[in-house]
Symmetry: C3
Subunit: 160 residues, 3 copies
């Protein structure tokens, strides 16, 4: 191996580590933006072209604007307090511009008007694309697995 | 420092970062495989020789097959819905083939037959070994710290 | 680019990745030490000089000793069982010795005497400083967002 090809291999390994880190932070920013009801930041996590967002009962969307419209209706109301926490990330780089991701989610939502709460566990299967140096979500599919919720009456008693 | 020893030091630092990343993904895969009831993938997270799995009341196992047998009995039934989420990882490399890991766990299990649920917090102390280029779990000890559970009657009322 | 400036750039990129990793582990150690009621390890996560710890209703502290005094009073009692799990990290390096961090927190606390529990979701905004090669917390602000708690009577019934 020549000195310059050795350097090239080192650069690629660093770039791979940087990509994994950027993708992890992309998803962190996505979930945090959901919880902050920051719909512009949510939009910015996805590529602007054809995207594949499959959130099951919430809907299937092929552009980010369509998804964010529903997000604003469902998740951005004052009485909704959401907690999206990503867990167990596995990021696989396909090449320097494509990656796959597997995550689990802890989700807890409180509806302060309806006096209900729900905890949900589930998993994501994602594809990411690097455009102009930035990793974005190209495809994401969420499946809920574990569900636990209840309503609370005026006296503070719980019904599951 | 000569150019080649400088290159050597750089290679080692990259390899250390890659090892930490691989170990983190190993544990992510372990927990996700538990939740998916994928007992073959669970088995594959451990070394094939003498292993030390100390899960307290669940049992102490010195080979991965013995543990997976119990996992299949306890965790792989249709009425059990588990959520294992790793948190707060600290990975320490001992050398290029040995590492230690400290993690916390959020665990939530629903028994849809028994109408019970339990939330559990605890911590892991692990040792990892790199064999044929792959990091595997050589030793793992889990201690539960925080426990919270309840049963739900037919009318949806809760008893802790 | 000369060979030596190329090497310099590679060294900086590795150092950045190492810094992000160290900061992530610093926060993991902080939360784990809180849950272990290890007040000396908690103290060691902060710089020894002027620090800015803004934990809202718990207090605002400008030196680590003042914070740890309150932590020992509130968090280190035998009847308190805490679970602090960091989520969704975004670490931004400002330069080689300064960084910012954004995290979410899942917190669950059980008071075994008072028979109460509380779950809390919130977010941190941090600043980190590297002193003598070690990253420490220089500034941290926590804001609670989602709160859910209940008391449990002697018969095991819950009131939110």
């Amino acid at each position: 191996m020549t000195a310059s090809s050795a350097m090239q291999s080192i650069r690629e390994r660093i770039e791979n580590l940087e990509s994994i880190e950027e993708i992890r932070q992309l998803k962190a920013r996505y979930w945090r933006s959901c919880d902050r009801k920051d719909h512009r930041a949510v939009l910015d996590c996805f590529i602007s072209g054809k995207v594949n967002i499959d959130y099951g009962p919430i809907g299937v969307f092929n552009n980010r604007e369509a998804f964010v419209k529903v997000f604003r209706e469902l998740g951005c109301r004052d009485n909704i307090v959401d907690m999206h926490h990503g867990a167990n990330p596995e990021i696989e780089l396909v090449d320097s511009h494509h990656a796959r991701g597997f995550w689990d989610l802890y989700f807890f939502t409180i509806d302060t008007d309806g006096r209900t709460f729900m905890q949900l566990g589930g998993r994501y299967e994602d594809r990411y694309l690097r455009l102009d140096g930035n990793w974005k979500i190209e495809s994401t599919r969420f499946v809920a697995v574990s569900r636990f919720g209840a309503s609370v009456d005026a006296a503070g008693s719980l019904t599951i």
